[in-house]
Symmetry: D2
Subunit: 309 residues, 4 copies
């Protein structure tokens, strides 16, 4: 299981859409090249920033096929199998396995409320169904329940997970998790935060899964490499530059939802940079207006990623 | 649109499962007969108590076919089209429409966070896709966002909804909603509570969608009929009897999750009453142990629905 | 202990302030007369709507002295002893006892997080310190913790409380509490809701503690009397009239906080009705602007409590 | 105002109590010496870990007198003026000013809900009343509201605050706050976390206010000094050692509340180290049992702060 050795910058790859809401294959291929050219260490497709829960199995399959083909083995590709229930997750997992991904990312079930024990069972059912490493995804803001420290330990002991993606926003608890796994270096912990990657690396994390890396993969790779070398001054400087860029996610909120403001800003910046054709998201996410887009542009220009227009 | 005229007791029909997790058709037919024999005024299939988010489209179709066939037009059948995103809900809606249901029940999108404006758009997209009346389902404990008073008014004004099922647990806000729609008698408000149905009726609600009505439909029908006649003493007495029965939902918690303890208790009681063959739920919900089941049995016996064993 | 026999309409009496933020004695006396003339069955001074946590011991003593003197034994006066810790509550309780109140109202401690067991101890310490009946006050929105069903039962069994004021907004749980105490008629349950008093009465409550009764005590008394007679149609009609009046609390929100918008609206209406001299609240609550006040006035006029100006 | 120049390790000083619940002056003097001997850069008395909301003005005054006297100007002493309302905070502030503290720490009002605008007014009223620098204290878990980024900026612009103590647990938002104040080096940001002090320092914080520094001040000072020198490897190693020690706070939970388990563990360790006479807290906080205390002891021994008994 541990051959995955997840580490480094593993962006949650945005899902470009055509005007009729299909997967925009040429744009997605450009995204994958943009990220690999930027030096990333893996690709996380079908995550929250990929609008995974808006995609049916056919479009999920399209995303996997394109990403796996374009990545061509240069970096591992891990895929979210995120859905409301165990059976649905198993179906996604089987499809992803057939299509050649290197690992699977799984949250707690959602909508229906489950217990920590039922969450452990959920992961074990998926592990039993598919011979691929599983990464636990802690994202209470979406699934309304926390993967507790004891739950993560139980899952590891039952050989159900090889890594954690922590998008809880609770850096203190994540620190305690890293302490719990300090004597298990085969277990990887990656932060889902865009703005505390240097913190996580200092605390012993193996890497990061920042949505903003869609816009600036090279920046996050520099941050990671500096941290790996122990050059914390350089890591911090890069992080602070990226914090400035991160302001793009707040420009349309509360005119649109947090989700539409955040992922929409990534797509808007990538459209301006010529990477993707369109910036809209799946229904019912509102699209950023031209006024919002202009604010995003000003921030991206200031960061040096775009020439002033 | 208003031909639906939703009112009365409309139980969220539990979904009986075979040992290999398929829809148990004979059991489901018995459930439908049990409910219609109990005098209910409609059937709400594929709701939260039906474990809707655990069911793939094929099994959702099975449930609809069986329920519509067995109901045979005696009462309206409304179906939940509950899922994470607009497109998925539209697919469910089209399938349900083809299979002959009389109305559709829709929540806000979940997992991804949306705004009240995006929720309005979500409902309008589904309305535009299928020519069936839509019922709004307010259940923040599952979808993590409230259908606000202004949102419900906007949806009604845009002719997107004909009714509300309020499972928010916030009877005060539901009272304000009934006030907002007081001059629109074509808009129906039903409570999702098991234990404050007499309250809701006193406040002007058109009916109730109580999960516990799976176990005792006749009791809830008596409650409703008493309330309709203005016999509040009889309505309250029936409600208080049902409150005693409602204690079944707490017997397995916190050994299992709230969902498994609640819906699992309904199934356990129905199994004991000979209505369904098995009491297990979809993975990963834990099944009630024999110890839990014995506690449920004692309460059901006390209510007179079962002979003491 | 049970000589208190709390029941009926027991308004949480607003605290009128002079321009230099002292207790406005003539206004407070007029409030007390206005309420007793309206037929209320008790007075709850120093509650949330009385701005209790903004008042130091000296001003709390002023309120008690004036209210007890003006009530002159015609109705029982109960006083909140609401504060962060046991010792502070004991001090308030001793002062209130000396000044002649008939009962004390106590919440869980707040700011510091406590357990349900520590809450039981808290109540027992106050009970041991002062020979007066204690009323438990469940208001999680202010103290951030719920008085759970088991906690209330434990407090009753330990003879620490004689009643509950339920301001949780969770009418379902309050129903279960009334079920728990059904065979203990000496234990009184009163709702803190303004808009579901008829519900609570139908469910077996002994009365209500509605802030809006400061503005229209006679209306709430009519509601209560109708409910006591079993005239639920009249009770509901009165409740619905009061729901229209309740809209005053929303007029200044979110320009000011919910607290300032709600209690500020009560004070504004009472000022317009000639009962109190000023409408401002304690610092830092914002005062309602003239624009807000005009909106409040329009609603009060529509209810018939004020002549159109 | 900026003469305070708050920085470094500023422990929230625990409040030792005598058996009859008075301030244990000899123990408190030993605590102060223990901390100053440990090299701390300031003392924060009357904070959450000091059980401030359990103390009346007289005991608050005792704490201030003893701490100021024992510190004797060697390090600045800042005092919490934490209470429910503006007027109460002003009273505490005046007393603290008279007794010679160097700065004041203030939260949002609590129990009554306020708006961000009313919070700004609250701070300005206190600033106007007392000529001492104010430190904003963000602790939503206790006061149930967040000090938002815009609020902090408004307070700084109105010259109402000179620093922030961030105990929100939201290290991402704290990072954004540090970004907002990057060009205002006269504004200090300190973390209230025990377990992410190295993170905060890397992000540009000026110091920390860790409750655990009561037990091991020298450890936190080493952490701080290493970070100041840019020796992040040493800072992290010290932090990781302190994370192991931090496990003491979880030993009695959930048998007692989080507050009693956490502060109670600090007191228990300090009692074992001979610094304070008793480990109990103010009512109604439960005292740690001997079983709990033995678990705490084992962890403290492992850290090297106590000889194995």
């Amino acid at each position: 299981m541990n051959q995955l050795s997840l580490h480094g910058i593993v962006p949650p790859v945005v899902t470009p859409l055509t005007e009729d809401m299909q997967i925009d294959a040429p744009s997605l291929r450009r995204v994958v090249r943009h990220l690999i050219d930027g030096g990333v260490h893996g690709l996380f497709i079908l995550g929250s920033s990929s609008e995974v829960v808006f995609l049916d199995p056919a479009r999920r399959a399209d995303v996997i096929r394109i990403a796996v083909d374009e990545a061509a083995g240069r970096v591992p590709v891990i895929a979210g199998v995120i859905d409301t229930s165990t059976d649905r997750c198993v179906e996604h997992a089987r499809q992803a396995h057939e299509l050649g991904v290197d690992g699977l990312v799984l949250t707690a079930p959602f909508y229906a409320r489950t217990s920590q024990t039922e969450i452990v069972d959920h992961f074990c059912y998926v592990r039993d169904a598919v011979d691929l490493p599983l990464i636990a995804y802690d994202i209470p803001v979406c699934v309304n329940i926390k993967l507790e420290r004891d739950t993560l330990r139980a899952l590891y002991e039952r050989k159900a997970i090889v890594a954690l993606k922590d998008s809880s926003g609770d850096d203190g608890n994540m620190r305690m998790v890293m302490r719990d796994f300090a004597s298990h270096p085969d277990f990887a912990v990656l932060t889902g935060s865009e703005i505390t990657v240097d913190y996580a690396m200092l605390g012993g994390a193996h890497g990061a899964v920042p949505g903003l890396a869609n816009v600036d993969p090279a920046g996050y790779v520099r941050l990671y490499e500096a941290a790996k070398k122990g050059d914390w001054v350089a890591a911090r400087a890069e992080q602070q530059r990226l914090i400035e860029l991160f302001e793009i996610v707040f420009q349309a909120y509360p005119d649109v939802s947090r989700n539409a403001s955040g992922v929409g800003a990534f797509k808007t910046a990538m459209q301006m940079m010529g990477i993707i054709a369109h910036r809209h998201m799946n229904r019912p996410n509102a699209v950023l207006s031209d006024v919002h887009a202009a604010k995003v542009r000003a921030i991206v220009e200031k960061s040096g990623l775009l020439q002033a227009g």
